[in-house]
Point group: D3
Chain length 244, copies 6
């Protein structure tokens, strides 16, 4: 089985980390490919940047999807998720949605941890859009001094453990840590949190593998999306996907 991880940030180091974590937790026989957005910002943390990343995610997906069995959006806002599902005939899993629904299988209510005030509301919107607000006991946001700190592996560990404790006290049966750049944090800190700790990449890999094994993938529009209208100024691979 071949899984494609699409990083909507332009930072190769994030791609490297999500690929490493996906490789660690994938089932035997699963091969992982990573691709980084061709354009946009290095670390998306605001709606304006995410709007650009939406285009970049589809662009990268269209260019690299061939020969894969499922795709994972390795950007924690699940950027352009519905759109991605419309242009490829394989399952597309959003890393954060995957972790939230997995958390739902582990108890009645989950807690969420994110990094940086600037993106806090984007996560609230994501959970609301996913229809899961009723099952969230709270969102803990860990402030960041700068991007570098965010990217330094292990740098957020104490704050995540503390935030998890607060969420458990508030009634969380499971805790989800959002963020592509912290991929693997749940695996590393699991023993230090009293309820299951999840992050996006591991859950997304598990869910994608399951969908492929069960032979499930979303329906793809049979009529051309564009209804016969032309595209201009976008990558030919993407243009072709839109007019299938």
């Amino acid at each position: 089985m071949k899984l494609l991880l699409v990083n909507g940030n332009t930072t190769q180091a994030v791609t490297d980390r999500v690929v490493a974590e996906a490789t660690r937790c994938a089932a035997p026989g699963t091969a992982i490919t990573g691709v980084t957005a061709r354009f946009g910002v290095s670390i998306v943390s605001a709606e304006a940047e995410d709007a650009i990343a939406g285009h970049a995610v589809l662009d990268a997906l269209a260019a690299h999807v061939a020969a894969h069995d499922a795709a994972i959006l390795a950007i924690s806002f699940d950027t352009a998720l519905q759109g991605a599902r419309q242009i490829v005939p394989i399952p597309v899993v959003g890393m954060t949605e995957a972790s939230l629904v997995t958390a739902c299988l582990l108890g009645r209510r989950f807690g969420l941890i994110s990094f940086g005030q600037s993106s806090r509301r984007m996560y609230l919107d994501l959970v609301e859009r996913a229809g899961l607000s009723q099952r969230m006991v709270g969102l803990e946001t860990i402030e960041l001094s700068n991007s570098a700190a965010y990217l330094r592996e292990g740098g957020q560990d104490p704050a995540v453990i503390a935030a998890s404790s607060r969420l458990v006290a508030a009634g969380a049966d499971a805790v989800v840590v959002a963020g592509a750049a912290v991929a693997g944090i749940a695996h590393r800190l699991r023993a230090q949190v009293s309820v299951p700790l999840l992050d996006g990449i591991a859950c997304a890999v598990g869910q994608a593998e399951m969908l492929v094994r069960l032979g499930l993938h979303q329906a793809v529009a049979t009529a051309p999306l564009t209804g016969g209208s032309a595209t201009i100024g976008i990558d030919p691979a993407l243009s072709q996907r839109l007019s299938r």
Copy 2:
């Protein structure tokens, strides 16, 4: 990996069918055990019957859970799901919740199909309790002439195909068929429905396997549930689980 399927109905034929479907779709190396409720009604279809099944599910789970890696509630009301998670240290997956969250990974909104007017509201309550009402486009209920018709494999196929079409027309990106006794129906009819068709057992097996592989299982209360108070009149295995 060993999975225990707990059928909260007292009908052995239903257990046989869910075990067969679980065996068909399980990953290589996964062994399936099935157990049938010791007491209750043959096919649960009303709240009164489900209340009895709640006890029967815990009773059977406590008696048979040893040496398994995860348990699946093979009764489509996810009967006693939260309670089951409190008494065993392995993941417990409800077959209907598993199918609903899997459907969420395949699109924006799902449709649901159930059998028999008497249980229709129980499914609405289940979806509401799962916090997923916002993602459901509709619940189609197929009337049953009698239990025998429900249990005859293939008997519901035309009605399910028709109901799926109505749900797709209403905007469903995926369709879930609820019911332990119809396990395997999604696999059998998939080619005849234009969006992904899911049922509970296959999704529950996939989700349970994923949770085990990722090393995730719900937190179990470390203090005795009963806070030192005694139990009377219940099976010793269950009593012991409650007073761990």
Copy 3:
């Protein structure tokens, strides 16, 4: 008029207390009978225990309902309420739902007080299931050192008064105290709280008397619940109720 109180806990002392409070506040001419669950745990405080109590409530109700005009579930999770309504032709009132709807008649928003963290979420679920979350300003949970403390009459009084004050400050027009074992606490503390203080048994008795006087009782399925399917391993009285 004869009212049957069904205690889903196995503690006779709780039955004695709810019967005493019901007798105190019942109208002249109302006779009170109490029955205690035959099996289960002494004080239900977790979902697993409540699942067993569901069966025990129906078992006790079926065995003792004859010759009564209404039944009251004297267990504060309103355990098996919908199921109970399906098997007897008289009104069945849940003690907590009765107190919540009564509170709704006394103002715009109510506050709720419960005992023990382990059952906190069960009350949140109950309020949500009752569709009354919008009218609740908050749930105050009073921690318990042990069951004995909970059962000692008057032991919780100071904590309840303090919690009521917090709820009033948060905007509560009325305060409901949940818990079968504290039956009578509202009557005892009423003068010390600035808004109406309610508990379950008194409200349930009042509501049950009203339903009987108005000649109202829920519809009972005319067709057998089990659709012709057999029951096994349950009390004959309950089995008979299911197959009417």
Copy 4:
């Protein structure tokens, strides 16, 4: 016990009918007084008219409340209910809210029947305001040729029976008929509907009696409502109630 019924419509015939129905169903020893709005419109059926009725209800309540144990707003929009509770030290029950919460004690979901398209949305708003939309399966509105038809006793019976059937088919466990002018309709038609049929006055009387017997009444502001500010142009009795 003395109950005051405040009719916010200016039609004496409506007052007569609600008093008759209240007298029929009240407990022995309960005395009923009725009062009709001094100003406004004959039958309120639009928001503009209801805004005037709000003043008229408080005006009549203030003038006649003395020596009563509870008040019932005998106008089916529960007009000025929160305000009424602020100015008198006895329970004030809205006839429609009383019937809705009573219906909640008889099953999981209720249906509602109202008269006249012009007021349909007012009932939807009332149910939403009461926080009970989740428990309503539907609102059936019976069109009226004219007010006279509405006031002719029995004139709406066939339409109400038909609407009840539709609501039961949609899943209603109980049906509430709204409208002061049709007081008694539930009692008259009960035998012809397969689930409990309720209307406002009977439920309001029952609930008011219960609140009085239990010694419950809403908290009344101890500080003057007007914070020291003057009133002008309103009835002295009402002015005095506001500046207590």
Copy 5:
């Protein structure tokens, strides 16, 4: 263009202030008229008072509406807003609703500031009724020592600035200050708050001007509201409006 401001409080000083602020911010060519309620209380701050104001608002509107292009309810509870729209053929804008929808055009979530605990819940109800609760991050209520303090221009400024900061910290993209008596406060303090600060009158004037310019006004019932039924005891101008 001529705008009519209807003050539902009986305090002329409040009318003077809202007229002054409306005049300040109106477009060239817009003329402002103010009218004060003939009866009721000097400053409405509780539901009972608001119920009276509902009648007074319609009374004043009916008496003075002639020759105006739009009306503004210059009382911050948007008292009798739906009713007002039914009786006049010109747009009627509620000052608080106008400010809330304007805030929605300035960001994802708004914060609200109100004065006096007694009316706090009325604002929560207003926002809920407007269907905008999901977009509100919080309601800050500033306590008042007395009405005089509330009416002294500038007296609330420091508290409003502090409350705004708390709302911004909670995620507000814009802050709305409710209250007719503080009309102009947003204009005065705008420079001291880091997000847009709005109050009701300025927004209502802007929205009313826009509706008039676009030729939009709500539909007015063509049939008489009263369906042929009589009115008694109300102002002839209002009576005529009801029976058009």
Copy 6:
């Protein structure tokens, strides 16, 4: 005053039409500029296309915003609205949100009309995201034979009139027609619909003019959005806006 209309579709004819309608309804002294997306699809009607349009909208806005007083997103999905507000210091109004909030000022509930099944769910999501689902009575979707039909002025008129009637029957106090390509349709058909008919451009122009006149504009982040991280592969004007 200068308003910039940003068309996220790549069709110049749509830009021409929205500019014409904006010019028609703008106040004297308002100048209108239109700009068309440089890349993407001719008519956006699916999430995948909208994801690309998000980037194109920001790209066009950044390149052309200089010297304007407010911007209007002339694409009916309000594409990238929150992001647009983050990168420019002037008000940004989404055409559909503007029409929905304007409709809220004209009555209790609105109806919505859109074109083409493929985008139906996108409008449901937009209304939900705007927090206004509670105020919508329904969404009528008019099927399109092809894009050309959609673009032919007047081609949709009979269908819009019929859909409006259905929405009014369902309780709509106002009807909103969504779609940039049909700009002006509300003005053209207003006389044929019994409640106010609105479309996006006219409302957006009115709202933008109002915000400018009142001196209101959303807060713009003072810190660079990108937190010091670089952008690559995007237009320099947009890159500069992100790193202000």
